[in-house]
C-alpha cells in the first residue's frame, strides 16, 4: 500500500489507496479459529457446511473485519490512534476470495482539542461484490 498523503492534510471525500489481501485459505481459517476461539464447524468442516446447504466452509466474518482493521491501522500509521471501529457484515466469503479494503474520508473535526478523522470503509471481493461496510474514527495526537 502506498501512503502518498499526510493524515493532517486529508480532506472530506478523499479516497485512500486500497489494500488487497492474498486469497483466503482454509489453513488461514484454521489459524483464525485457533487464535480467536471460534471453532464453529461452518468455518472448518466442509462436510458440516454442505449438510446445512453451503458449497463448503465459509470464512469468519471477524476475519474480514480483521482485514479492515489491518487497513485502518495502516492508515493511522504512527500518528493516530483508532477510537472507534465498526463493521456491518454482508455477503459471505469463502476460501479463494481476495478481499480489497478501501476507504474514503467522511469528515474531519476537532474533539477535546484533538483532530479526528472519520473514515468510511468497504471490504469487497475483487469482483466488486461488497462483503462488508464499516467506519472508523482516527484521533491524531
Amino acid at each position: 500500500m502506498i501512503k502518498d498523503w499526510v493524515l493532517e492534510e486529508l480532506t472530506v471525500d478523499q479516497k485512500l489507496e486500497p489494500m488487497v489481501k492474498s486469497p483466503i485459505t482454509k489453513v488461514q481459517l484454521a489459524q483464525y479459529a485457533g487464535a480467536s476461539g471460534d471453532f464453529n464447524p461452518l468455518h472448518l468442516d466442509d462436510g458440516f457446511a454442505q449438510k446445512i446447504g453451503m458449497d463448503g466452509v465459509i470464512a469468519h466474518g471477524m476475519l474480514v473485519m480483521g482485514f479492515l482493521g489491518e487497513y485502518v491501522m495502516k492508515i493511522a500509521g504512527k500518528e493516530a490512534r483508532v477510537a472507534n471501529f465498526k463493521m456491518r457484515f454482508g455477503k459471505m466469503t469463502v476460501p479463494g476470495d481476495e478481499i480489497r479494503c478501501s476507504g474514503v474520508v467522511e469528515r474531519t473535526y476537532e474533539e477535546d482539542g484533538k483532530r479526528c478523522i472519520a473514515l468510511e470503509l468497504t471490504a469487497e471481493k475483487v469482483s466488486g461484490e461488497v462483503v462488508g461496510a464499516g467506519s472508523a474514527i482516527l484521533q491524531l495526537t
Partner: protein, 147 residues
Amino acid sequence: MDLDKSVIGLTSDEYVFEVESRHVGQFATAIGDDNPLYTDDRYAKESAYEGLVVPPTFPIAMNDGKVEMPVQLDHRRMLHGEQEFLYYKPIRIGDQLRCQIKVSDLYDKEGKSGKMQFLKLDTEMKDEAGELVCISRMNIVYRAAKN
C-alpha cells in the same frame, strides 16, 4: 421462544483475561496483519500509542471460553450482524483485564420472514484500576423460531 425486554441489563459473571504475547502474535498472523505496532517495541514507543498494542479486532478473542452468556440463545437462530469496538485506552501485552458481558439493548423489527429481534451484547473490559479500556459490542440478529 422470543426474548423480552427483561433481558436488558443482565450480565455475565466477571472474568479476568490475560493478554499474552503468543496469543496476540497468532491472532495477527492469522489475519496476515504485519503492523510493527504489535511486535516492534522501538517503533511502537515512537507512535501515538507510545508502546506495543494489539490488533484492533483482538478484543473479539478475549473470551475465556468458559464464561456463561447472560442470556441463553439458540445458536441456529443467531446471526452476527454488526460488530463495533469502542477504544478508551490501549490494550497491552501483559494486561489483566476484567471482562463482563452485558445485554445492553433488545428491540424488534418486522422482517420479510417474520419478526426479527436485535440484541446488543457489550463486553466491557476494565483495567486493574477499574477504568474502562474497551467495549466490544456485538449486534446479533435473532431470527424467529421455526414452527
